[in-house]
Symmetry: C2
Amino acid sequence: MKRNHDNAGTSNDSATNSSEATNNPLLPYISEFDEVQKKLLSLDEECANEQMNLQRKFDKKKQPFFDKRQEIIDKIPGFWCKALTHHPALSYLTSADLPVLEHLKSIQLFDNLDNNGSYKLTLNFTDKAKEYMSPLSLTKHVVFDLNKESVKECTKITWKPGKSPVEEALKARKNDKCIDWSLFEWFTEDEWLNRPDVGEIIRREIWHAPLAYYMDTVSIDYFDDEYDMIDDEDDM
Amino acid sequence: MKRNHDNAGTSNDSATNSSEATNNPLLPYISEFDEVQKKLLSLDEECANEQMNLQRKFDKKKQPFFDKRQEIIDKIPGFWCKALTHHPALSYLTSADLPVLEHLKSIQLFDNLDNNGSYKLTLNFTDKAKEYMSPLSLTKHVVFDLNKESVKECTKITWKPGKSPVEEALKARKNDKCIDWSLFEWFTEDEWLNRPDVGEIIRREIWHAPLAYYMDTVSIDYFDDEYDMIDDEDDM
């Protein structure tokens, strides 16, 4: 409960408007005050927009290095599978995801597509994933507008019969104690709640330090802050 | 506990170094990979620095409006006292703070003094606060360096006999159930732990919307997220 430090007198609901005006020394200045605040807010917005433009300028400068990185990763089979599944927030993925994720070849991220930080993420799989699903490139385009999130584009995955990890996860969750889920469930246009946000985890974390995730050297303390996960010290 | 998706074979501690090299397809590329990541990191740092420069450019543009705002506030006695004490994180200030805070005339914030976001905050009191303390301007300069916080400058307050709210708060806390504290306790060079960070609350919240705090119209839901405070619905 928030404690109220105000004098009882000024919060008396039965006071007339005129006595409120007398009691509230702000009233004569409120519109002037509001104008100043609006001007400050508009400068803040202008600043945030210019900062985002700068971010995009640097995103472009970084692109050749992301390309170079992917060229190296091309030589390391199963790199992205390991990097993803080492992330603690993705550690309760159904084991049925693994044989598919092993064929994850590259990740493309188009970040900060607008000033609200909308993004588009594509997972590209090798031909070996054909025995599980089609298509082999899965894209989700997430748009933020006034902090509301919507899905502008999302690949619909068709699973080969009996090969769907999503089905496996759904089956497993019939047991109430099971919290397994499939990363591929994230490819949905529906609102994504109550499970780690795959897109945010990739764009904000794994994308910036995939080597550390691959080698599993990211400090667990860091995750505790971010995900409130309970970890054994044995994991360190 | 984090679940381990890796194959048991690859994490076998008794494996020799040479078989590890064979098993770990990353090893031949690790330094090349590391170079790319370092280049990306340095672009990120460059971007963050340029964004901070932009922030400072806008902080300067905002200053005349902060000055104008203070001119309005000068006409509203007790404005800053109300704005501060309406913030939920400051709602457990000792009531002994109030007669002093009522004479808080203006707040000066020098924000983002460096690329780490160091800041300097000054609270200026009217002559009426002389019966409580000296000096009448209280400054704390907080410096961040590699996420470590230190105090570069902090006014030492001398309280008139029997007039110290800090003493009142200390006395009250002898009762273990009492969590009262004094905002003036924050003016310390010691590490400030376990209590709301007055400087951060002012610079990041009250400073941006003092009118809303004065009028007590800031949504409680917002605070719940930020401070994990338990609030009655009655407060709304």
